[in-house]
């Protein structure tokens, strides 16, 4: 048999018919599902596999500790979350909405519950579904029409993407994280470098990453245009899954270990990146590819898009990144809100104070991450340092809930998108790692975490 890639193995195992693939797990949230359920009802159709479907409320959820949808003050948000709850009741779909101890960002709770498993096909009406590829699953975002299609048929009509492998040689330096690695990768291949491709991340630097770090890398695949990001499962993956509520007992160890690209498997394209050359990254513009090392400066614009971005960001070329003053710091989002992200940030701020000019917040990715952090006393570390300790949700990643930037405010954010207005109309976002965000909160501007003490 010809050697095949991890992607090919999963794809081939899920072909129901030419162009039709089976979906093992469908994750649902309140924003992209209401129209799908409504169309389903109008057509007199039902949900084929509620037992392979799981819902949570995250985008609209206030992070003030509300325990029921009825407490959401914004009427449209309240209706959207209540609509999710009633749709799930009607179709028998398990839903962890506001007030549930399992509620959280959909891409945090899937792995946390163990429903995300190697070899699966996973979809969700959210572009950051690629996160789940960190477990060796084929996971990608879909639109509302496709959400409806999966609800009704548990399958998707899909063109087979081509493949790309990004191999990281060398080791990440001290203080350099998975976030820096993926930002540097996006800068290298561009915002559309991965369009139409399933990207496998490989190499020693990826193998050494924690599962949370791997999720951060796969999460931002979309920011390079990639359809899906995958990392082959290993012992670390299996250890992470074992014992979680949906974990098989015993784990199918041999099956999962066989999920890797065969030696000699051909990829559509190959990219090699030296991880040891990656420094802590800070974005300066309005796409994640507009990024530079923290010791660098705002570059000279090379295109109309660059000029527009600099104007929006109110930055002059040549300004050292470390001299950019900040108003806000946001630690959270499906990219960086897991327990190890919070531990790393807490280590940085322990015994220190947030700068008087900065309003800083930490938003755990799920109620379970929140509970774990509180059991470890991390909430206390953050609060004593002057951070606002919030409840689980998407929060200020996308400004669909009360956590927003005001026009003109500048924020160091651990999220995934620095688009114009992403965190609030007129707001200015700089993407960084949790450690870099935490140190920036203390100093009121970016610092090189490798030298800062």
């Amino acid at each position: 048999m010809a050697p095949s890639t991890l992607f090919d193995k999963i794809w081939d195992a899920h072909q129901v018919a030419p162009g039709l693939i089976y979906i093992d797990l469908h994750l649902v949230h309140e924003v992209t599902s209401p129209q799908a359920f409504e169309s389903l009802r109008l057509a007199g159709r039902t949900v084929r596999r509620p037992d392979r479907t799981l819902a949570t409320a995250d985008h609209n959820v206030p992070t003030d500790g509300s325990t029921a949808a009825a407490q959401i003050r914004d009427q449209l948000s309240r209706v959207q979350v209540e609509t999710l709850e009633s749709n799930c009741r009607e179709f028998g779909i398990p839903a962890y909405s506001i007030g549930s101890s399992r509620q959280g960002i959909v891409h945090v709770i899937g792995p946390e519950l163990g429903v995300t498993q190697p070899g699966m096909t996973i979809v969700c009406g959210d572009s950051h579904t690629s996160t789940h590829g960190a477990f060796g699953a084929l996971a990608f975002g879909i639109g509302t029409s496709e959400v409806e299609h999966v609800l009704a048929t548990q399958t998707l009509q899909q063109q087979k993407p081509s493949t790309m492998r990004i191999t990281y040689e060398g080791e990440l330096g001290p203080g350099v994280t998975a976030k820096d690695l993926i930002l540097a990768t996006i800068q290298r291949i561009g915002t559309d470098g991965g369009v139409g491709r399933a990207i496998e991340y490989a190499g020693a630097a990826v193998e050494r990453l924690s599962m949370e770090g791997r999720m951060t890398v796969c999460n931002m695949t979309m920011e390079a245009g990639g359809r899906a990001g995958l990392i082959a499962p290993d012992d670390k993956t299996l250890e992470w899954i074992e014992g979680r509520p949906a974990a098989p007992d015993p784990l199918p160890v041999d099956d999962w270990h066989s999920l890797r690209s065969d030696s000699g498997a051909a990829f559509g394209s190959e990219v090699a990146i030296d991880a040891s050359e990656v420094s802590p990254q800070v974005t300066w513009g309005t796409t994640p590819a507009q990024v530079v090392g923290v010791t660098g400066a705002v570059p000279e614009p090379a295109s109309d898009g660059d000029r527009r971005a600099l104007e929006y960001m109110a930055l002059a070329p040549g300004t050292p990144m470390r001299e950019i003053p900040l108003d806000r710091v946001f630690i959270g989002s499906c990219t960086n809100s897991r327990i190890s992200d919070l531990r790393e940030a807490a280590e940085v701020v322990r015994g220190r104070r947030v700068s008087a000019q900065v309003n800083a917040m930490v938003v755990p990715g799920s109620q379970q991450v929140k509970a774990q952090a509180e059991a470890e006393g991390l909430d206390d570390v953050f609060r004593k340092a002057g951070f606002d300790w919030r409840s689980a949700g998407c929060s200020m990643c996308l400004a669909m809930n009360p956590d927003v930037l005001q026009a003109g405010e500048r924020c160091a954010s651990t999220s995934n998108r620095n688009y114009e207005g992403r965190q609030g109309a007129g707001g200015r976002t700089h993407l960084v790692s949790p450690r870099m965000a935490a140190a920036a909160a203390v100093e009121g501007h970016f610092v090189d975490i490798r030298e800062w003490s």
Binding site: L20, D51, Q159, D192, P248, A425
Partner: protein
């Protein structure tokens, strides 16, 4: 979905790269649970800029990586509701491209220099069956997945088409080995 065969008319130019779906339709509108009425919110923030001009012609021509970012189908809903029937660009965000084809909004990929020429021409005729764009006295062919093209040309209901394969889905589920408890058993 209405069948799509030919889109013929004036070209609206949006000469920007990396136009993300957050710009196309603001998150403020994502809280609505309806599927219609998004056109008037198209590019809500950019429309406040002086000199903004986006006539609702049948064809929109845009820069590289159009529709990148969020999976929100509200973006194609808004473009379609505004009046566009086809979008021509050098590349598209994957999910956006797929979402367009689900609602009969035709995405056409052309090389960057051809998109520039089409922008300058101001008028074009896109023939999906021939996979060809005619403008300024020339014809340029484009690629589209044959199954996607067939569904657009015939205006097929995707779910209806798939449900005809229900026996194959049943058979797949019977032979597939899966591990661990289902979501309803957690």
């Amino acid at each position: 979905m209405q069948p799509v065969r030919v889109v013929d008319g004036e070209v609206t130019v949006l000469d920007r790269a990396d136009v993300d779906t957050d710009q196309i339709i603001s998150k403020k509108q994502l809280k609505r649970v309806e599927r219609t009425g998004y056109g008037r919110f198209l590019f809500e923030e950019w429309a406040k800029e002086p000199g903004w001009h986006l006539p609702p012609n049948p064809i929109l021509a845009a820069g590289r990586n159009f529709g990148c970012g969020s999976s929100r189908e509200h973006a194609p809903w808004a473009l379609e509701d505004y009046g566009f029937r086809a979008i021509v660009a050098p590349s598209f965000g994957d999910i956006f491209y797929s979402n367009c084809t689900k609602i009969g909004l035709l995405p056409v990929v052309l090389p960057e220099d051809e998109v520039r020429a089409l922008m300058a021409a101001g008028h074009a005729r896109i023939d999906l069956e021939e996979q060809e764009v005619a403008f300024a006295g020339r014809r340029v062919s484009f690629d589209i997945d044959s199954e996607t093209a067939r569904r657009l040309l015939e205006g097929l209901d995707d779910i209806g088409v798939t449900l005809q394969q229900e026996p194959a889905i049943d058979a797949f589920e019977r032979r597939q080995q899966r591990h661990g408890p289902v979501t309803t058993a957690l």
